[in-house]
């Protein structure tokens, strides 16, 4: 009994022992798997995991550079940077965007437009982990509210950033342009996205666009240690950003504002150039707009209203507005006519108020019914006699006219750094054939001689030609940039076109005198504007027809015409006659007669510029 019981127990013990042996082998194998796994992770794959853990821990954050400042010629700030607080959301860090935005809207006021823009940006192409702005320009109170609640709103951040600010609002909108948020297209087209790391704005128009590369600067970087929630714990390494270049422009703040004031609420443009340097003193296009709205985001209602107003405030008339230059081109054609021997200064005709080509029946009227009587070159310029120039044009033919206009910069872009300038049209036979498919007719040349027909010019081109005229044919590249702390920028200014050479240099003086007669003789078209001027100056008026209107003997319309069909008023001038300091072109859209509307503006600007205390 005892034996069998012992036997039985012994069997049970053996069975258990064998099972424990099996378990032991199993445990040994499983333990070996764990050790192998750890060895694989920690020794064989160590480098990869170490790199990953460093990547986790360290983050390279860009420090955006400070955008370069823009000054006028006297050191007045035209574009500056101001701190502004932006509420933004990092989508990757937020649990649920919609809920988060709702929570934020319970703390501070969010308009539907804020939300709409935010979700629009959210769905657009963007860099990962880039904060998406929800509300800009937070008030002090909003900053405090968000600071207190930040802990509860994972993914929300308030950032201080420097925002572009244009202290003179509308006055410089067209010439300086503006910066705006980098859009999808710009981001895709960017060659070096790294330079824009941390930067949200890019120059869109004007100087801001033209000198974008220099104004931007170079971003800096900081290597920081962050925790899993992206909070910065420690800065390990830092490389400071390089601020963008400051630009000093030839623009004269006072003259620019004066021009804006003089144009008032009329549509038009003023361009003033310093002949000696080619520097652009003023470049105005009215109506303007507030460029600061582009920075903060244009409210779409306001944008649509401006766009549909018919005033077209977004058109930069100074460089994009192309108009018939009308009689303002007479001095340039006349100069070539005399210098190349088609007429002499003494040659005169009798003007009965109309002209007819020998080859065709069509009557070409003078603007003055009944004509100017006997006129020579000087009086033809002073009184703006059309018939004299019809006949001169018939003698010169197209090529000579096209050629002299080309030498004065018409039909091409000669400015160095004016963004997106139009070339205007200086027509030629080939051009007409290409463009319209017809041959050039003699009548086209007649029209060209008074700056009508196919010929189109921008106010900038007229001002440039005036400056070259004032310089006695010497070209200096027209430009905005005077100097910069980035000296390399000046080297990018291209060479000007070749100077205008005359066979007889005395012809400059005689044309200058003829243009002086415009304003300072008792038969001059703009004699009213020249009255009592304390300096000698030269000018030329122009009245560009929008449509044919029946006129009386003074060229005034017989009946009332709607504003839209009224003539464009032109005036160009330079002063003082000896050693000119300023050349001006004024255009007033649908302003009527050039001498009546545009000339007084030019005179007031010259007074403002030349008679300042510090210039006497």
């Amino acid at each position: 009994m005892l034996n069998s019981s012992l036997d039985n127990r012994e069997q049970e013990r053996r069975l258990f022992l064998s099972r424990m042996t099996a378990a032991f082998i199993g445990i040994f194998l499983l333990l070996a798997i764990l050790v192998t796994r750890l060895f694989f992770l920690q020794v064989l794959e160590n480098e990869r995991h170490e790199a990953q853990s460093e990547k986790n821990r360290l983050e390279v954050l860009p420090i955006p550079p400070i955008r370069g400042l823009i000054y006028d010629r006297n050191g007045e700030l035209l574009a500056r940077n101001q701190p502004s607080y932006t509420l933004s959301i990092v989508a990757e860090r937020a649990d649920d965007i919609e809920t988060l935005v709702r929570e934020v809207s319970q703390l501070i006021t969010l308009t539907d437009e804020h939300k709409e823009r935010f979700f629009q940006r959210l769905s657009n192409y963007r860099r990962p982990f880039e904060p998406i702005p929800l509300k800009l320009k937070l008030s002090e109170e909003e900053i405090a509210i968000m600071a207190a609640n930040r802990v509860f709103l994972e993914g929300v951040q308030v950032e201080a950033e420097l925002i572009r600010q244009y202290p003179f609002d509308d006055a410089f909108a067209h010439v300086l342009g503006y910066v705006g948020r980098i859009n999808e297209q710009e981001l895709r087209d960017m060659k070096d996205q790294g330079r824009y790391a941390g930067t949200r704005f890019i120059g869109k128009q004007g100087v801001e666009r033209q000198y974008e590369n220099a104004l931007l600067g170079q971003p800096g970087f900081q290597r920081v240690e962050t925790n899993a929630r992206g909070r910065i714990l420690r800065v390990i390494e830092k490389e400071a950003p390089e601020p963008g270049a400051n630009l000093h422009l030839y623009l004269d703040r006072q003259l620019q504002e004066k021009a804006v004031e003089l144009l008032g609420n009329r549509r038009g443009s003023v361009v003033a150039i310093e002949p000696e340097t080619g520097g652009i003193l003023a470049m105005v296009s009215q109506p303007g707009f507030d460029p600061n709205l582009y920075v903060s985001g244009f409210p779409s209602s306001l944008y649509n209203e401006l766009r549909d107003s018919g005033e077209n405030p977004f058109l930069n008339r100074a460089i994009r507005g192309q108009y018939p230059a009308a009689s303002t081109i007479k001095p340039f054609i006349g100069l070539a006519g005399v210098d190349q021997g088609f007429v002499t200064w003494d040659y005169s005709i009798r003007d009965y108020g109309w002209y007819q080509l020998p080859t065709d029946d069509r009557i070409y009227n003078d603007w003055k019914r009944g004509g100017h009587g006997r006129v020579n070159m000087t009086t033809a310029v002073a009184e703006s006699c059309d018939v004299y120039f019809y006949e001169l044009a018939y003698k010169m033919k197209l090529e000579a006219i096209h050629n002299i206009l080309d030498q004065f910069g018409f039909g091409k872009v000669t400015t160095a750094d004016v963004y997106n300038a139009s070339a205007g049209i200086n027509p030629s036979r080939e051009w007409k054939k290409d463009r319209h498919g017809f041959s050039w007719y003699a009548g086209d040349t007649i029209n060209l001689s008074i700056g009508q027909g196919y010929f189109l010019a921008t106010p900038m081109q007229v001002a440039i030609a005036t400056a070259v005229m004032a310089n006695r044919g010497e070209w200096v590249t027209p430009r905005l940039l005077m100097h910069s702390n980035n000296e390399a920028l000046l080297e990018t200014i291209p060479e000007p076109p070749p100077d205008v050479h005359l066979n007889n240099d005395r012809n400059w003086d005689r044309m200058h005198n003829a243009m002086q007669e415009v304003v300072q003789s008792n038969r001059g078209t703009a004699r009213g504007s020249g009255y009592d001027a304390p300096y000698d100056f030269a000018g030329k008026s122009g009245t560009a027809q929008v449509i044919a209107i029946e006129r009386d003997e003074d060229g005034e319309p017989v009946e009332d015409v709607p504003d839209r069909f009224k003539d464009h008023a032109w005036f160009l001038s330079f002063a003082p006659l000896e050693n000119p300091k300023i050349a001006i072109a004024v255009l007033v859209e649908n302003g009527g007669g050039g001498s009546g509307v545009a000339a007084p503006i030019a005179r007031a600007l010259m007074d403002d510029y030349l008679l300042r205390e510090d210039r006497r």
Binding site: L15, L41, N46, N56, N227
Partner: protein, 377 residues
């Protein structure tokens, strides 16, 4: 052979021979030393894992105190008492599991806690970690080993009740561990290899059905992320990617105490509970992790020795099952943190921060000590 066996048993049988001090106070010094080593080392890792939270370490020390006290008390009891009370505790445990499903406190979408207001809040499944092996060891040893088919069927049924109740909570990790503890008893009792192979094949063929009908979405997600953590790097895959990075970046010698960037900068989730081995691996490297595994291996070996020396079938089955289950804890936890097993909520025994499991584990070592120090009378 039989005689020598009998003689070898003499000292253990306590017939007239003097017994050592350790046996008289019913403590296994070898096991105690190894357990203390793991616990104290674990406190250092916990201090680092909780970013220097001394309070957490103190609370953990209190649990160790309670656990070791329970261990010592249980060690004093004669194994016969477990045999006698096992059935009652098992029945009580099942009743509490039912109660949990009815009234349990919700935590993270699972009902695991039972609260007696103002008195205590605990997980009844912890009781079953001990009650199931005791119950099955008692049942199977009662009818002799190897078990007959009838007794096998009954013991499988007894096992299925608590496992099914815990799966319902749902707490897949715990239910699998409890199932394992029961299966170990049956295995050690001498289940024939033929049946083991057939059960294994049946289990494998059941997997697709489990996948479709039993497993919750989050459980499936955990399994899927095991195979491709990068499929959801910020969601379910985050834990496993970060823990593998933590362990892997530790290298051979580790980054140093409190120097682990993954754990100190919060990249590692659950760093002081289930994923604490990743902190150890990051800060003490392969060497540190290997030392810990060696300590666990010593505990397991000692447990197996106690089991083999057990005075009767009940003691042997119980001690063997508790020891193997303890090893499974270690394997599942280290396996999941190092990315070779799906993430199931199994803490690293004696090191992870947390209350009930420490007390349960140390109580089970109390049972082992009781078995090793209570020779047949």
């Amino acid at each position: 052979m039989r005689f020598t066996e009998y003689v070898r048993q003499l000292p253990d049988s306590g017939m007239g021979r003097r017994t050592s001090l350790w046996v008289r106070i019913h403590i296994d010094p070898f096991l105690l030393l190894a357990l203390l080593g793991v616990c104290i080392g674990g406190l250092f890792v916990l201090y680092s894992a909780s970013s220097g939270d001394w309070g957490a370490v103190q609370r953990q020390m209190v649990r160790f105190g309670v656990g070791f006290l329970a261990m010592i008390v249980v060690a004093q009891l004669d194994p016969r008492l477990f045999q006698q009370w096992g059935g009652a505790v098992f029945a009580l445990g099942v009743a509490l599991l039912v109660a949990v499903l009815v009234t349990g406190t919700d935590a993270k979408g699972a009902q695991r806690w039972l609260t007696i207001p103002g008195v205590v809040r605990f997980q009844p499944s912890e009781i079953m970690k001990l009650a199931v092996p005791v119950m099955l060891a008692w049942y199977l040893s009662r009818y002799g080993v190897p078990p007959r088919h009838r007794h096998l069927a009954v013991s499988l049924f007894l096992l299925l009740i608590p496992v099914a109740l815990i799966v319902r909570q749902p707490d897949l990790g715990t239910s699998l561990l409890i199932a394992a503890s029961g299966i170990f008893v049956i295995f050690l009792a001498g289940l024939s290899w033929k049946l083991i192979v057939s059960f294994a094949m049946l289990a494998v063929s059941m997997l697709p059905l489990m996948w479709i009908f039993v497993m919750h979405d989050y459980q499936k997600q955990r399994v899927l992320t095991l195979f491709d953590p990068s499929s959801d790097p910020l969601g379910a895959g985050w834990n496993i990617i970060q823990s593998m990075t933590a362990i892997g970046s530790g290298g051979l010698q580790g980054k140093g105490f409190m120097q682990g960037t993954q754990s100190q900068l919060d990249f590692l989730p659950e760093s002081h509970t289930d994923f604490i081995i990743a902190v150890l691996g990051e800060e003490f490297g392969f060497v540190g992790a290997a030392v810990l595994l060696a300590a666990y291996a010593l505990i397991v070996l000692r447990g197996m020795l106690i089991a083999v020396r057990g005075r009767d079938n009940f003691c042997r089955l119980l001690a063997g099952s508790l020891t193997l289950t303890f090893f499974i804890y270690v394997f599942v936890n280290v396996g999941m943190v190092s990315g070779i097993l799906p993430v199931v909520g199994v803490p690293l025994p004696l090191v992870s921060y947390g209350g009930t499991s420490i007390v349960t584990l140390l109580t089970s070592f109390g049972i082992l000590m009781s078995i090793s120090t209570h020779p047949r009378t």
